[in-house]
């Protein structure tokens, strides 16, 4: 009876799934690129820039995503920027927030590459960019992959906050369904299964990468 009603609402769940997947995928790309750049500059940039980036990272890692999201979403209207949609606000906030975590992962990965590698690259005459591109990053990426995938899992879960500012993701659709048919427990359990199906392959990937890293 309950399950039949939920099955009839499957289109809504799929719409929510699409919302979650789309916003997570976009934020995943933007936050990884942004975090990667910040991490590289934080490891190899000029001192003044590092200082500035340090403050950015401390603020965004030391405060909750929800407060940041509300600042971006309502703050843009307060400052007079019209037409900032919930979607844009969520992508911007997720990029800044997850980017702060990712930049720390990238920075520590770069620092974990043995010092001799960079010295050797310098000795054979590679420039700063070439050292990064051909020597440091390829090695750092192997080191940071498990932590990076772990952060992506957090990103997918954090995208659930987009429902609070009214973006149509899994949670938003779930609420709409149980507002109509009742049975919040069963409906939310189904939504939980949907999240589980997105996240658990990533978890398994992270675990496999971690094991491979230990072996080598």
């Amino acid at each position: 009876m309950v399950w039949a009603q939920i099955w009839e609402s499957r289109v809504q769940i799929l719409v929510g799934l699409e919302g979650t997947v789309v916003i997570s995928a976009i934020a995943l790309v933007t936050s990884t690129l942004f975090g990667g750049l910040v991490g590289i500059f934080n490891a190899r940039g000029p001192r003044a820039l590092k200082w500035f980036l340090r403050i950015y990272i401390e603020i965004f890692r030391g405060s909750p995503l929800l407060a940041q999201l509300l600042i971006v979403y309502f703050g843009s209207a307060y400052l007079g920027f019209d037409g900032v949609t919930a979607f844009m606000a969520v992508v911007v906030t997720l990029t800044l927030y997850e980017g702060a975590y990712i930049s720390e992962i990238v920075r520590s990965g770069l620092e974990a590459v043995p010092r001799g590698q960079e010295e050797a690259a310098r000795t054979v005459g590679l420039g700063t960019f070439q050292r990064l591109r051909y020597v440091l990053l390829p090695q750092a990426i192997r080191i940071i992959m498990p932590a990076l995938v772990g952060q992506w899992i957090s990103l997918v879960k954090d995208s659930a906050l987009s429902s609070i500012v009214g973006y149509s993701d899994l949670i938003q659709q779930g609420q709409a369904i149980y507002a109509r048919i009742g049975h919040p427990f069963a409906v939310l359990a189904v939504i939980g299964v949907a999240y589980f199906l997105i996240c658990s392959p990533l978890t398994m990937l992270a675990r496999r990468l971690d094991r491979r890293r230990v072996r080598t």
Binding site: E58, P64, L66, G174, A189, C199
Partner: protein, 238 residues
């Protein structure tokens, strides 16, 4: 800037009230999570297959679903099958259940990091299982898990902001009330964000100092590293 001053001067008591609620809920939630973590880590290592499987499934479910969903299930979902909580109770339960899932993994890896010889030596000396656990394994594991556990506590403080969706008036909840009243959304939420920054920095400072006194030899933690604080073992110079 005037708006900042206006909000701060008129609504400071509300922010302080919110900080108090955030701190209380986080501490009680953490105590619950700590209990779940210890029990779950013990269950995962136990000889009972069923206990290990239950703890394993629990960890997987918690870690692969958003905390917001867990809060909704506890506050809106459970009443439909006959379990009703006030929003305060639901907040603590939600924080505890979700934090517990992460602490189980932290504690399990902490116990796994203790050299095998310790357990064998305790056996050889004829210590009872309880003595082995409480006098040999637990003190060593606590030292290893202290930094990531503090990190998890900080995550729970930040995560408690989500509890505003079930009407708990912690920092974010108060900020939403103030912003609805004054329409000064941005200054209000920035003050809320600063309140969190104060809380998290005070907590991690206290934890760092406490680490020096709680453990022998003292634990030196370097702040602001990946996955929370990182341990640097103290080395003899020269």
């Amino acid at each position: 800037m005037n708006d900042f001053y206006y909000v701060l001067s008129r609504y400071l008591p509300m922010f302080l009230e919110g900080m108090k609620t955030t701190a209380t809920v986080s501490v009680f939630g953490f105590l619950l999570a700590f209990g779940i973590g210890l029990a779950g880590a013990a269950a995962r290592q136990s000889n009972s297959r069923i206990a290990a499987a239950i703890a394993g499934v629990y960890v997987e479910v918690i870690r692969n679903t958003p905390m917001l969903l867990q809060i909704f299930i506890i506050y809106f979902g459970l009443p439909s099958i006959g379990l009703k909580f006030s929003n305060y109770q639901a907040a603590i339960i939600a924080l505890g259940i979700s934090g517990g899932g992460y602490l189980i993994e932290i504690f399990r890896s902490g116990f796994a990091a203790i050299p095998r010889g310790q357990r064998e030596a305790a056996n050889t000396l004829g210590l009872s299982p309880a003595d082995t656990y409480f006098s040999v394994l637990l003190p060593q594991a606590m030292r290893i898990v202290y930094p990531p556990t503090v990190g998890q506590f900080l995550q729970m403080v930040l995560g408690s902001s989500l509890l505003s969706v079930i009407g708990l008036t912690e920092i974010t909840g108060q900020a939403q009330l103030i912003s609805e009243e004054t329409f000064m959304s941005m200054p209000t939420f920035i003050i809320a964000l600063l309140a969190y920054l104060i809380l998290t920095n005070v907590i991690s400072l206290c934890a760092t100092v406490a680490g020096r006194f709680l453990f022998k030899p003292p634990l030196h933690i370097v702040q602001g590293r990946m996955n929370g604080p990182r341990i640097f073992p103290r080395r003899a110079k020269g």
